[in-house]
């Protein structure tokens, strides 16, 4: 395995330096204090600024620690911001797939539906933004669990609630299913929350690849799945394209 990465060590030193003093520091002060070339220090500061760990005063150009550092443990992407940034892609996905689209983020051991686009058939549907879904029995929830956006440990302690006979209520089964999700890059839920219903979901990533939410399609099982009960490949392709597009908009480089 490779040794410590020099740029990360230097970034840590810059953060310690900014955290140590009561006042903002200029680029020259940072570079001089750490014995770095100005160009190097500037590059690191700009990257730290990009991830909101450092803020630059617009008037003086001096640096201080960013607000994001104080909230490291909590979700840093505002859910309403996530909706706003996804809305066009989610609409396009619903239009192309002909199915309803939902976006979910983790909230206290459940999935919070933060956006909902109706199935484009003009049937009577109710907006269920704000609804909560179980993590283990929804495709959105499985994505959040599989990629560490929601903690898995509390779910592994005991038998989980079985909504139907297909629900993954045994912790070992759930863990195995999540490994599969990571393997294939998307999650399915076939009649695990209610009979006759199915859904597929894919991760939404932000910069650095961090999963901040999930986007999914859901509907009657005979529309989502093929005759063998597997989600239709064409739907999964559309879904993953939409997830990648949103992720790119949020600053995830590789997806």
């Amino acid at each position: 395995m490779a040794g410590p990465l020099q740029s990360i060590e230097r970034a840590a030193a810059i953060l310690r330096l900014l955290a140590g003093g009561p006042r903002r520091l200029g680029l020259g002060e940072v570079a001089a204090s750490l014995g770095l070339a100005k160009g190097t220090a500037h590059g690191i500061l700009r990257t730290l600024q990009h991830v909101d760990f450092v803020e630059q005063d617009p008037a003086t150009g001096k640096y201080q620690l960013g607000a994001a550092l104080l909230h490291l443990g909590t979700s840093y992407l505002d859910v309403n911001e996530l909706r706003s940034r996804s809305i066009n892609w989610a609409d396009a996905l619903a239009a192309r797939s002909g199915e309803a689209v939902r976006l979910g983020t983790p909230l206290e051991g459940q999935v919070l539906v933060v956006h909902h686009v109706f199935r484009p058939d003009d049937s009577l549907q109710t907006l269920d933004v704000g609804a909560l879904l179980p993590l283990h029995a929804s495709s959105l929830g499985k994505i959040l669990l599989a990629y560490g956006a929601a903690p898995l440990e509390p779910l592994l302690k005991e038998e989980l609630e079985a909504y139907t006979r297909h629900t993954l209520a045994v912790p070992e089964d759930l863990s195995r299913a999540l490994a599969e999700v990571r393997e294939q890059g998307w999650a399915a839920e076939v009649q695990e929350m209610s009979m006759g219903e199915a859904g597929v979901a894919a991760p939404i990533r932000s910069s650095g690849g961090l999963v901040v939410g999930a986007i999914g399609l859901s509907g009657p099982v005979e529309r989502i799945c093929d005759t063998r009960g597997r989600p239709q490949a064409s739907l999964v392709t559309l879904l993953r394209e939409a997830a990648r597009a949103i992720s790119r908009d949020l600053g995830a480089a590789r997806w």
Binding site: D78, V79, N80, E81, R83, S84, I87, N88, D91, A92, A94, A95, R96, H116, V117, F118, P120, D121, D122, Q125, L127, V129
Partner: protein, 504 residues
């Protein structure tokens, strides 16, 4: 059979966009390019018309190639454009005379003030149904004639052409100096203050009044008809539609029946109500405008109410007060409290517009107590957009007697769930969001597709429209009444803040 597409051009205030739509009205490909905003003096806003034309030359091929679509797969071209922006050019060289004067530009304010006194609003309302305002094109032409020596004479000698953006683009697309078509459509012409709103022809009284020679004006056509084929960029493809952007949004939302209404929520907001083939002259501070005209069918009219400050109030809250770091966070902050805590914000930043029209009003925040938090302020910010919508809808209901049954919405603020619910609550009608957010572009595509036979009739277009979301009213009527009263009392307090110089 070859899958064919309709190409839509949205020449907007900040950018020009080119979007391809398929037969089901679904977006296939987008290309866009921003153009520079020029602010040579306070209140002046200009665009370089040549830059906009060059941007169009770039983005059309981009939109085609990114979807791997060949030029012969494009069935028709439709154009939607920023309204009222004025460009003059020399038809022998194709070079504009100076930069285009944008609809936001207020340089004609002193002239407009004089016109409102003499000959007064009635003279204009009788003919074009618009009161003098800095928005419209005719005062700009007069201003240019007064300021630029020799310009008026050149116009009389036929050495100058006038156009709004669609006219400029169509002229260039159809050959430019080499016989380009000099045409406009009835929706755009209805915003010049030069067109008679009843006959849909240039009004001789207005032309005489402003001193605008007929020779410089484009021919007025329907919004959807076969204007002619492009001779450059997409040679041979027919141009079959042009509409002002807000009218295009109304068309894209398939508001084809009297009583259908849409509101586009952006920096400011524009609510348009289809009033059918009947032109309604507003007695409540709204504008009457042409909604669209298809081929030789009778024109369809609309009432328009514009709200100056909606999204820009959220931006103010973000940029000037710094209470949020991104616009969508306003909803997060507003959800930290149950209600507005008794606080109301009237964003009369540059006076009150429709339906009040009070330039002496300025913004107020009322109901402040030590209980109020930034969460309550965030609520009041969102509610201001809701109540301003309610005021415009009330004015429309009073003018038209049709009565709003449902409001179709589009624009960036429709991502704000709390706001959309609040609008449904205060209007007491369902608020619906369509699946295609790009209603301006879609409207231009629909009109173009209709005129070219790509779509057979309005019914097919209606079937293409799908709900992406819907908010149903869910507010106690007593509370709605009480809150509206509070809002109206807040509005009263914003009025009369600015004292006229010399007034007692």
């Amino acid at each position: 059979m070859v899958e064919r597409y309709v190409l839509s051009i949205d020449q907007g205030t900040t950018s020009t966009r080119c979007i391809l739509f398929d037969h089901r009205g679904r977006l296939v490909s987008v290309a866009q390019r921003e153009h520079q905003q020029h602010f040579p003096r306070p209140g002046w806003v200009e665009h370089d018309a040549l830059e906009i034309w060059r941007n169009l030359e770039r983005i059309v091929p981009q939109a085609l190639s990114s979807a791997e679509i060949a030029a012969d797969e494009v069935a028709a071209i439709g154009i939607a454009n920023q309204r009222e922006t004025t460009v003059l050019w020399d038809p022998s060289t194709g070079v504009p005379l100076g930069r285009a004067i944008v609809w936001q530009d207020t340089r004609t304010a002193p002239l407009v003030e004089r016109l409102r006194k003499d000959p007064g609003d009635e003279f204009f309302l009788d003919r074009c149904c618009l009161p003098p305002s800095t928005y419209f094109s005719a005062p700009r032409i007069r201003w240019l004639f007064d300021e630029v020596p020799g310009l008026e004479q050149r116009a009389r000698d036929g050495e100058l052409l006038f156009g709004t953006m669609e006219t400029w683009l169509i002229w260039n697309l159809t050959g430019g100096v080499d016989g380009g078509l000099h045409i406009t459509d009835a929706t755009n012409a209805s915003r010049t203050m030069l067109m008679n709103i009843h006959s849909l022809t240039w009004d001789q009284d207005l032309l005489d009044f402003f001193g605008v020679p007929r020779a410089m004006l484009p021919e007025i056509h329907a919004s959807a008809e076969n204007y002619g084929a492009a001779r450059t960029i997409l040679p041979g493809v027919r141009i079959t539609a042009a509409l002002g952007d807000q009218q295009a949004a109304l068309f894209g939302q398939t508001c084809f029946s009297p009583g259908d209404a849409k509101c586009t929520y952006g920096t400011g907001s524009f609510l348009l109500l289809n009033t059918g083939s009947k032109m309604i002259r507003s007695r409540h501070g709204l504008l009457s405008t042409v909604a669209y005209k298809i081929d030789d069918q009778p024109a369809v009219y609309a009432l328009e109410g514009s709200i100056a400050v909606t999204g820009s109030l959220v931006q103010w809250f973000r940029d000037r007060l710094g209470l949020i770091s991104s616009a969508p966070e306003i909803e997060t902050l507003a959800l930290t409290v149950e209600d507005n805590g008794g606080c109301y914000i009237v964003p009369a930043f540059s006076g009150l517009f429709a339906p009040h029209w009070r330039s002496d009003a300025r913004g107020v925040i009322v109901g402040l107590t030590s209980y109020i938090t930034k969460g309550h302020l965030a609520r009041a910010v969102l509610e201001a957009t809701g109540w301003q919508t309610r005021e415009v809808v009330d004015a429309m209901n009073a003018d038209s007697s049709i009565g709003l049954k449902e409001l179709k919405v589009d624009g960036g603020m429709t991502a704000d769930n709390l706001l959309m619910q609040f609008i449904a609550d205060v209007l007491d009608v369902p608020v619906v969001r369509p699946m295609v957010a790009e209603t301006v572009s879609l409207g231009a595509a629909y009109a173009a597709g209709l005129a070219s036979g790509y779509w057979p009739d309005l019914k097919v277009l209606r079937n293409n429209w799908h709900r992406a979301g819907q908010w149903l009213p869910d507010m106690d009527p007593g509370r709605r009444e009480a809150e509206y009263e509070n809002w109206q009392r807040a509005v009263e307090r914003s009025i009369g803040w600015i004292r006229q110089p010399g007034a007692p």
